[in-house]
Structures are given as structure tokens and as C-alpha cells.
Amino acid sequence: MRLRTRSIALEVRPSHKAKLVGILVNLRGGRSRGREGEPGYYPDVLARLPTCHFLSLCVFESADYDPTLVIEANYDGDSGPFWACLQHLVGDELREALRCCKRPLDHSGKLYDSITEPGSRRDPAPFLECHVMRPKAFFHGNRGMPRDRILAEASLANAVQDRLGNGEAGRDKTAEELREGLRTELMPKFPWLAEKPKPRIPLGETALDWLKLAAALFLFLHLCLVPGAVIAGLIGDGKHALLLGAASVAMWAVFNKFRKPLEGVSTTRPGLLLSRLVSNAHIVLAVLAALFLFSWPIVAAGNVLALDLEWSAAWKNSARQLGWGIGWLMLFILPGLLVWMRYLERHDSSQEAPQTDPVMLRQMVELEDWIPQNHMASVVSLRPNIPRRLVAYVGTLLIHLALRAAVRDGYLGSMRTIHCAHWAFINNGSRMLFLSNFDLSWEAYFDDFIEKAHEGVTAIWGGSVGFPPTTMLIEDGAAHGRAFKRWARHSMSPTRFWVSAYPDLTVDQIERNNRIANGLCARRLSPKAANAWAGDL
């Protein structure tokens, strides 16, 4: 069953903000059982949302825009049943919350009216579905693990721990004997141990991930080949070489002049992007070769159709066009885009001391660190220039596809603390929403970001208003640790209602439980594999 991540953002009538916040806070107070008031622990809610991993509701408040209600949901399986469950759980509250929102100006206005008019009994789910956003990028730390499996494996791991007690139980046994003993003992309570565990990421899904990444890259790069190919059609090779040579030398000269960080901006080793490109030259070459090979038949067919050439001539002509296209791409277009970006970076303003409302800050802090997990919700405005927006939209998509294809074990760099996180664009793409469910404290989470993943973070948020100064897309930016944290806090709002289906489990624990369960499902393990398995106990 696939884990889905969705969010809904609705503008709130400013006069109704306090009422809306009250509704969400009541939802929390009125519903938590057991550890009263603690965020993240709502067994009654979770029983009625049987596919939900994480759910949050918050109201974003800022001087720059009217309050915005955001509902975030991470759930297994189909969407319709999930929204139906939510509506049956908190339908009245949802209707009241919608009454605090602005009437949408689009086609959903009528639906809004019929749901919010006095005495209406119409279900709110269809309206929510009208406004559901698919994230532009998302990340799942325990990919391929449905909620039921996470919970079942956690209860198995607890049972194993109970059996082992203080470790005496398995002292004089080999790892395999210990494993077999536990398997036999636990099988009656966990009959699924007899089944072969389902693969977490099926082969087809993996193939599709890589295919999507390849297709997006291909489309983007293929478009970048057009200028070179067109010029190749207009002038001969000699003149073309002279033109490209002159243009690229000029571009590289400008690029070289601007590529270094400005004074006071550099935090990391300068030239990170270039050194990354050089150290991964083999990948760059392979991508270019693939680009050439896949583009060749397309361009050749274009030649046959547009220029009426024979196929043999078309192959030759298209190879020449592609060669020039790649030349322009590498020597002029990419450096040109970077120069443009550098120009913007040198003139961008960044906010050194953004003001965070002390009351909101206190509320945020009060809601954090009750359980091993935390939640954060942030909205930032995007800088208006075209290349910035382009990087934000296309870059986020490419980063998403790359993460999906390449990260299978939940590690972002060397950090593995994110359960479910996602980015979405709201308000006609002028703002970026970020919602994350993570392990440990907010401070530790951001320290991790700053130390271990600041390049990716800078690439995604670099185009946001007030973000610390960046260099060459991925350098500096988030590496300005304190400024980045201040900026991030300023963009956040307290999460008024938040539920986690497994509030006591970290991403690492879920993975460990999965290894223990997989080991116990196996009929037999080699001594080496059994020892590795026992290492998790």
C-alpha cells in the first residue's frame, strides 16, 4: 500500500483567525486521552483514521499575507476513504473551520457555500478534495512501510525484547539458535512470521522512479540542445566554431569573475559546485552520452520530416547538430545560467534578523519535544525573478525525482531523522510550504540540516525571500547556521493539532524493527547473516 502525502491550504478570513485557532486547539484538548494535552499522542483519533501516519492542522500567520489554514496528511492507500474517515472523525469541526476560511473565487465557491451555509449537513470531504495539493517534492524516511506493518513490527520487537530480558536468555546460544528459538516462541502470537516479507519497494516502482528521473532530465537537457542545433543549421562548422569559441571564452571570463562568493558570504570551501562536477565527471560524461544517444533518433527523424533528407544524411546531420548542441550547452548555456544566477545572488537581499512574534515562538516551543518526534510547518515567499522561480520549480522537481530514485534507505546524506516531509507551492506558486515530521528536537534537526545537508537545503530554499546569501546555487545559504535557523523559525507557525501513528518510534527504530522482523521471518539464516541480525537486538 502506497504512502501518500497531501496538503490543503486555504486562506482564512482575518477576522476569524482567533476562532479558527480556538477550533484547532479544542480539537487537541478535547481529544487527547492518556497523556492529556501532549501533541502527537491520540490513540482514539488514530483508531478512527486507520491508514494515517501523520496528520497536522495549523494556521499560518504573517504580516505579509492573510492567515492560511493548512491541513497535512500522510496516509496509506486511497485518498477518498481517508478524507471520509477524517470527516467522520472531525466533520463538525472541519465545517466550522471552513466557515472561518475565505470563500474560494474559483469553481469550488458553490461547493463551499453549500457546505458552510447555516444548517448545512453536506459533507466537507468533497470540498477538501477540490483543494488537495500533491507535493512538488516529498521524502519518506521509512519508504515502503505501511502503518500496519510499522506497528506490527514494533510490537514484535517489543515481544523479542521481553523474551530476551536482560540478555541472560541467549547468552550461551549461537545467533541462529537464538533466532530460531525466538521464531518458534513468537510464531503463535505473530503468525505472519511464517510469511515471506513483502518487498518494500517493488522492482517496478524502482524502475519507474529511475525512468521518471531520466525522462525529466532528458526533457530539460534536450531543450537546452536546441540553440546549438539551430545555429548549426544556419552557419557552417568553421564559423560556428569561431562563434562558440568567442562566446564561451567571454562567458567563462564573466563566470570566473563572479563565481566566487562575496565578502562575508563564504562559509564553506568555495567552488563546491565546480569541484562536485569535476569529481563526478564520469557521471556528467555518461549523462551527455545518454543524452546524445537518446536525442539522436529524435533529431534525425526531425531532419527527415522537416528538411526532407534521406535517413543516412539525416543521421549524419543530426549527429552534427547534437554535437554543437552539447557544445553550446556545456560551454555557454550552463555557465550562462550560472552567471545569471550569480548576478541575482550578488544583488539578493537576505534577512539577518527576521522578527519572530514572541507569543508564536513561545507557543511553538511549548508544543515541541513531548515525544521523540516533532513537527514543523513553514511558509516562505519566493523571490520573483524568472530564473529563481525556475530553479525553485524545476529544481524542486528534479531533487524530488533524484531523491526518490537514489535514496532507498531513508538516509539524506548521513542523517536519517525524517519520517515524512514535503514541499508544495501555494498561492499560485508564489509561496513555498514545507511540512516535516521528524525525530529529535527542532534544534537538532536543523543542526543536522546545516551540517549534513546544507547544499540540498540551499538549493531548495535559496530562491526564498530573506534566505541567507547563497553562492552558485548550493553553496553558503543554509551553512550560515544561526541566520538560517532564525530565518526558518520566522517562517514557521505553531502546529495546533498534530497526530503521529507511532509517536514512540524513530526512523532508525522502525528500520531496526524491520530488520529484526525480516530476520525472524526467514526459515534459516547463514551464521554471518544471523550474527548481523543479532547485532540489532
Partner: protein, 411 residues
């Protein structure tokens, strides 16, 4: 088929017609799936058939625009008296319902469940490994315990099971002439019978409050105006017509569905053996989702209204039109119901509409919740529950009424 079964149900349509009804019933899930996909709000003449979960809920919950069409026939049955079952939301409706609800007492459901289970156990134990369940088990137990609970004792002449079942059929399912003629005889008999019971209890000075009637008479002593004899007899007769005929329809259909699913039957057996009545009820309700007693419910538009307003399928209904809500379709609409094709006995309450929804949601739902598992548990507890050999081993119908289902089990 037992001889009394023979006369509780009318003789039913001819073989061919019965076969067509059976085929149609079996094809309903596919028909509804098709409608949901291509014509979610179908209109034929002045009748609109609503099949999506969202739209069914909308119609059922919007009682200010859609009323139940039961009033006219109810008046025939009640000699002109109006009953809340056929009324719009109004102070009169609320007053009747509130008064009737006030008769229920804490502990009633436990008592009913215990009585039903005891009676069912007697019958199942007495059967020597083979039992016809529709009449012998389900109808007998339901009528026995509900007559006692409502305080409507069986008549000396005539058969309450026949009276109730016929009148239920007339009220909700059929209007043919022979049935109408029969009803004109039976309806007054039921009313006179209840009046006699009331008079008998008043004359005897019987002030026990074990049943609805006793409690209603106690209320009468405090407030004669709200609890006059006419009101009490009308309410009791509505309950006898709307209530007891239904479990003998519902439960055989549920058992038939379980017999078709060995996995579900095994978990139902396990739950019954453990005494987990909640899970047994879950099995019965879930089984009914695949063959509900009422796949559709009728409504009449009291004003012009747009169903699914604001969506692409927005559909206008004019005042006076008939709207048929397909609750069977709503309960298997994959847009809202998780895994509708799977048998999941632990679904949430909202996934079912067997008892209707909104203003006219079944008055007897708590009673049913108590007696369904209680009646079925003694049977489901039996080992190796299976169909009897021969045609009796498969649920047969007379019209829309389950007629016979024979099962076998190890003693």
C-alpha cells in the same frame, strides 16, 4: 419448509419471476458500479437514482428537502393516525419520537440480548444437527423477545407473525390488490388486539414496568394527555410492524453470505466461541453489506433542490420528484469505502447505512445491535457449520422475503 412458514409469507411470485428477482439481486453490485462510473445520478421520468456515497449521504441528511413517502400507507394501517415514521422534521415528529425514546431504560439491551441468546440456544440445542434457520430460529426468537419487550402479547386468534409481516410488506414493499384486501382485515385486528391488551392491563391494575407498554401506562398515570391510549396503541403497533419482521429477513441473508465465505465464517465462529459479541455483530453487518435487506430507500422532494451542487455532476431535482437512494451502492463505493470488495468485519460505523441515516435512522438500531449477535451466536458457535444437503441448503426467497435456509452442524 415448515407448515407455519408456509403461511407467514405469501405464496410469492411464479418461478420465473422469482428467478428474475434473484438474478437482479445478484447483479445489483455490478449495476451500481456501472451507474457510479457513468451515470451517478440517473434520471428516468420523475425518478432520480442516486448511487455515489457522497450524494446518498447528502440526500439522506437533507431531510428539509427530501421527505420519506411512508405517510399515506401508514395512515391506512393506523386508521388515520399519523406516526413519526412518515413525518417531516417538526415539533410533532420530535415529540412522538422523544416520548417513544423515553420508554427505553438502562439495562434493557443487556436483558434483551440475554433473553434472545437463551431462546436461540434452546432452539439450536434442540435441533439435532440440522436446523431451518429463517423461521425456526430467527423469526421465532425475534418475535418472542420483541413481543415481550414491547409488551404486545400474541393474539389468541390469529398470528402476530403473519399480521406484522404482511403489514410490513404492504408498508414498504408491495401494494397489490390481494395484499391491500388482506391489510384492510389485518390492520384493525392488530389495533384492536393492542387496545385489548391496554384495557386488560388497566383493568388488572397491572403496574409492572418491565416492558414498553407497562412503562407507557406508568407515564399515562403521570401525564394522561401526552400518553393517551390512542397514542400508546399507535406507537406499539408501529413498532410491531416496522420491527420484528426484519431480523428474520436480515439474519438469514447474513448467514447465507457467511456460508459463501469460509474464511469469514471461520472468524465469525471464533468470535462467537470467545463470546466476542461486538465482532460477531461486525461479521453480520459486514455480511449484509454484500446483500442488504434494502438496497435502496425512497424519498420525495419537498422543494426544488440541486444534488451535488458545486460539482460537475450537479443535478436538479424538482419539487414532487421521487429520489431513490442506493444505500447498497453507497456502502460499496470505493471512492469512500476502503477496500469495498473485501470482507472486513471491523469496519467503522459510518461505513454502513443498513439502518438508514439522518432524521429517520432506524429507531430499533440499538435493539438490533443487541439481538443480532445474541440470536446468531448459539448457531455460529457450533462446530463445522455448513449448508444442509439439497436445495434447502441455499437460502431461498418468496418475493423479497427469505423463505428457507437449512444448515447442519456438529453437535
Amino acid at each position: 419448509m415448515s407448515p407455519c412458514q408456509e403461511h407467514v409469507l405469501r405464496s410469492g411470485p411464479g418461478k420465473f419471476k422469482q428467478w428474475v428477482i434473484g438474478r437482479l439481486r445478484a447483479a445489483l453490485p455490478a449495476i451500481f458500479a456501472l451507474l457510479r462510473a457513468v451515470w451517478p445520478i440517473a434520471k428516468i421520468g420523475k425518478t432520480h437514482l442516486v448511487s455515489l456515497h457522497d450524494d446518498v449521504r447528502e440526500v439522506m441528511l437533507t431531510d428539509c428537502a427530501f421527505e420519506v413517502p411512508y405517510g399515506t400507507k401508514l395512515k391506512v394501517l393506523m386508521e388515520g393516525q399519523t406516526v413519526f415514521v412518515g413525518m417531516r422534521d417538526s415539533p410533532g415528529y420530535r415529540s412522538q419520537l422523544d416520548r417513544l425514546q423515553s420508554l427505553a431504560r438502562k439495562g434493557d439491551m443487556e436483558r434483551l440480548a440475554a433473553a434472545a441468546q437463551e431462546r436461540a440456544e434452546e432452539i439450536v440445542s434442540a435441533a439435532e444437527g440440522e436446523l431451518e434457520v429463517v423461521d425456526t430460529l430467527f423469526r421465532t426468537v425475534t418475535f418472542d423477545v420483541l413481543e415481550e419487550y414491547f409488551g404486545v402479547t400474541p393474539p389468541r386468534e390469529g398470528d402476530m407473525r403473519v399480521w406484522s409481516t404482511r403489514m410490513f410488506e404492504y408498508q414498504f414493499l408491495a401494494s397489490d390488490k390481494s395484499l391491500k384486501d388482506e391489510i384492510l382485515q389485518l390492520a384493525p385486528s392488530l389495533l384492536r388486539h393492542i387496545e385489548d391488551i391496554i384495557q386488560g392491563r388497566l383493568a388488572n391494575g397491572d403496574d409492572s414496568e418491565d416492558d414498553y407498554l407497562g412503562r407507557a401506562l406508568a407515564k399515562q398515570r403521570e401525564n394522561a394527555q401526552d400518553w393517551d391510549d390512542l397514542f400508546i396503541r399507535t406507537m406499539l403497533s408501529a413498532l410491531m410492524i416496522g420491527g420484528p419482521p426484519q431480523p428474520p429477513m436480515v439474519l438469514p441473508q447474513a448467514i447465507e453470505q457467511l456460508l459463501r465465505r469460509p474464511g469469514a465464517l471461520a472468524t465469525a465462529h471464533e468470535a462467537a466461541t470467545k463470546g466476542d459479541e461486538e465482532l460477531v455483530f461486525g461479521h453480520i453487518f459486514e455480511a449484509l453489506r454484500f446483500d442488504p435487506i434494502s438496497p435502496i430507500l425512497p424519498r420525495k422532494a419537498t422543494r426544488d433542490y440541486i444534488i451535488a451542487e458545486g460539482t460537475r455532476r450537479a443535478h436538479k431535482v424538482s419539487k414532487g420528484d421521487t429520489v431513490v437512494v442506493a444505500i447498497q451502492s453507497a456502502m460499496s463505493d470505493p471512492r469512500r469505502i476502503p477496500a469495498p470488495k473485501e470482507f472486513i468485519p471491523t469496519r467503522q460505523h459510518w461505513e454502513y447505512m443498513h439502518f438508514g441515516l439522518g432524521l429517520h435512522e432506524c429507531f430499533g438500531r440499538h435493539i438490533n445491535r443487541a439481538i443480532f449477535p445474541a440470536i446468531c451466536m448459539p448457531l455460529l458457535r457450533r462446530k463445522n457449520l455448513r449448508r444442509a444437503e439439497g436445495p434447502g441448503g441455499h437460502l431461498s426467497f418468496k418475493g423479497l422475503f427469505p423463505a428457507e435456509l437449512k444448515v447442519r452442524f456438529d453437535r
